[in-house]
Structure formats: structure tokens, C-alpha cells
Symmetry: C2
DNA sequence: GTCTATAGGGTGATAGAC
DNA sequence: GTCTATCACCCTATAGAC
């Protein structure tokens, strides 16, 4: 038996928002799926929007906290180690449970969905994470101009977001030639690609601040 | 004056779908914005879904056609040239008009939005494009295992999708330190990063077909 | 805390006049 | 081709009983 009403609502919301999209998920289908009364959403949360933020907070905050832990444990890290600290918490959290595949799509859509999906506390912590990782990468790659570091971290985030958001696309491309259930293999592919991209030469004349 | 009803509908749909999301855009607000009667959508297109596909077709097909043209004009290309053929039509099409910024978000969401946004003719041509680019990259990098080439093209697509879908994110990170209005500068950043990633060593022992 | 009932409004799609 | 009018349904949020 699931625990209380509030948690059941969060679980159902996460699942339905991920698979159908937020705008397409009505509070009626949501409360029906959670086997909870329709009014419970407005009692435990204040609105549908607040429920969305609560879902994202529960999922993203542990990931971002873990990123900061892993990063601060490194001393003079290589870009591979920095990328591992950034990617690993997300990949492991998402691919851990059996429901991971579905939730991944929601996280993948975090940045591109209209309506400021990323807001409030989640946004604040994410901004802090990005700030610290930019600094760390800059220290590891002193020869790369600051503006280029920003672009490249942006690309690194894109790699993660797309890997989460478009799993079906690569699975369709691959026709079984790819193992999508091995977190370590995925991490290795992402880190190998992204670290080479971060280290790339060129763009030295890019306009910096 | 805009031309006919059908084209006005496509223009308004593209703008509103991009900025508000598809599910959040009602046919009423759409036809109001286009200064067209409500029933026109169901007359010229068959349904809202068909309108969505028509919007994507009009925008994506020229891009994908141009990609194939540019690719087939290359002989023994480098990965930089292959990536240029893939990225350039999209970046130029999107950043050309003044409305580009908005439309970019819709294109960026193409792969991660629930409800099979990518369907029908658009999906078929996109699959063909991916197939040919995979082959071309494989030829340019014979030392990289096929499964790894798939992962890496997946990452290259992610870089483009995220650059289009999350422009506000990097602009927030950058606080003016980045020029987002220069197509050539963006292309250079993307190609420098992605070509280094494609060429990266490692993952040679990855399970291939 | 949890429920029922409903207010008040928006939605996609269609029939039929012009 | 374009319009009006309307159907049948869905939505979020809330008031008030238990």
C-alpha cells in the first residue's frame, strides 16, 4: 500500500506529467490514477502549478545536492571527473527505479518546455550548480576562453537533456544495437564525448567578457 | 496584408505553439490571433493534430532537404564538414527571420515532447537524414565502433536541440557575455565541440552489432 | 483530512446557412 | 470558402457536508 495521499499524488503526477505532458494531464485523471479525491490536489498543494514544482523539487533537489557533494570532494579534478560529478547523479537517479525511463522525459524537458517549468527553489539550486561547475571547468581548462566554457557546458547539458528526453529516438536509430539499461556504459559514452568537446582547441578568439 | 487564410493559420500556429506550447494553445486563441474564423482550422486541416504536423512539415522539410543537398555535395568529407551540413540549415533557417528565436523552441522540443510530435512525412525524412549522416560519419571515422557512432550522433542532435530549446538558459548563464545573434559564431562553437566529441578515443570495446 | 457537488468557463469538432 | 451557432465534453478551483 502506498503511504499517504500527498505522496501518492506526487507519484502519479510524476508518472503522468512525464508520459503525457503537463498541460495534457488533468487533475481529474491525476486524482483518479492516484485513487485520491479530486479536491486533494487543492488541499495538499495550492494549485496545479504548485504541484508541478513539488514534483520537480522532489526529483531534482537530491540530484543537484549530490552533484555539489561530488564536485566539492574533488581536488584539482580533470574534466572527466567534473563531468562524472555532473552526469552521474542524474543518470543513476533516473535509471535506478523501474519507472526511470518515463521520468527521464520530464527531466529532459525541464529546460525547453514553455511556461518556466524551472522555477523557484529548483531553479535557484540549478543556477548555483551551474555556477560552480562553470568555475571548476574553467580552472581545469585555463586555456579556454570564459564565453567558450559557457557554450560548452551548455552543450554538455544538452547531451544529458537529450539523452533523457529522446531515448526513443536513439533506440529507434539503433534497433537493439545499443544497451540503454547500463548506467555505466551510458556515462562512459557521455563523458568520453563531452570531455573531448570541452578540451577542443579552436575558438580562442571568441569574444569574452 | 498576409496572403490567404491557410497561410495565416500556419503562421499563427507556429508562433503560438512555439511560445505557449501546443496543448496550451486553443483553436480559439489561434484563430483569433490569425484573424480567421474558428471553423477554418477544421476546414483547411482536418484536426488540430493535422495542423501541428503541417506546421512542422513547412518548417522542417526545407531544412532536411538542404541537409541532404549539402551532404551529397561533399566528397570524402571531414567530420567538421559533415557537421556543418547537418547544423547549418537548421541554424540559418531559425536565426534568419526575426521570429526565429521563438520558433527555435518548438524545433528544440521536437524530440522530447510527448505525443509523438515527430510523425508522418516529417519523421520519415528525418529518419532518412539520420541514416545518411550516420553512414557518412562512419566512413569518416572508421575506427569508431558503429554503436558508438550512434550514441555520438545522438549527442550531436542533443547539442542542436538544446541550443534551440534552451536559449534563455544560456543567456541567463552568460549575462551578455555571449553573442546569440551571430549564426556563424554559433555554428563554430557547435562544430568545434561536436567534432572533437565525435573523434574522441575510447569506447572501442563498446558492444557493437 | 477527506469527501461530494458544482460553479464558471474553456475545449475540439461539426452542422448547416450564406 | 467562410460564417454562426451549438453540441458534448473537459477543465480548474472552491464551498460546504462529514
Amino acid at each position: 500500500m502506498p503511504t499517504d495521499t500527498k505522496e501518492r499524488l506526487l507519484d502519479s503526477a510524476e508518472l503522468l506529467f512525464s508520459s503525457q505532458g503537463i498541460a495534457n494531464t488533468s487533475l481529474r485523471s491525476l486524482t483518479e490514477h492516484a485513487k485520491v479525491n479530486l479536491a486533494a490536489v487543492n488541499y495538499h498543494f495550492q494549485s496545479k502549478d504548485a504541484l508541478v514544482q513539488a514534483v520537480l523539487f522532489r526529483r531534482m533537489n537530491p540530484i543537484n545536492q549530490r552533484r555539489l557533494e561530488l564536485l566539492s570532494a574533488l581536488q584539482n579534478p580533470t574534466v572527466e571527473q567534473i563531468l562524472d560529478a555532473f552526469y552521474r547523479p542524474a543518470v543513476e537517479a533516473v535509471l535506478a527505479g523501474p519507472e526511470g525511463r518515463t521520468v527521464a522525459r520530464l527531466i529532459g524537458r525541464l529546460y525547453s518546455e514553455p511556461g518556466d517549468l524551472l522555477a523557484g527553489q529548483v531553479r535557484a539550486l540549478m543556477a548555483e550548480v551551474i555556477r560552480l561547475f562553470v568555475e571548476s571547468i574553467q580552472r581545469a581548462l585555463p586555456g579556454v576562453p570564459p564565453a567558450t566554457v559557457l557554450w560548452r557546458l551548455h552543450f554538455c547539458i544538452g547531451i544529458l537533456a537529450h539523452t533523457f528526453g529522446a531515448m526513443q529516438l536513439i533506440e529507434g536509430m539503433a534497433r537493439g544495437r545499443i544497451a540503454y539499461d547500463d548506467p555505466e556504459a551510458i556515462l562512459r559514452q557521455m563523458i568520453t564525448f563531452a570531455s573531448a568537446g570541452l578540451r577542443a582547441e579552436g575558438e580562442s578568439t571568441c569574444a569574452a567578457s
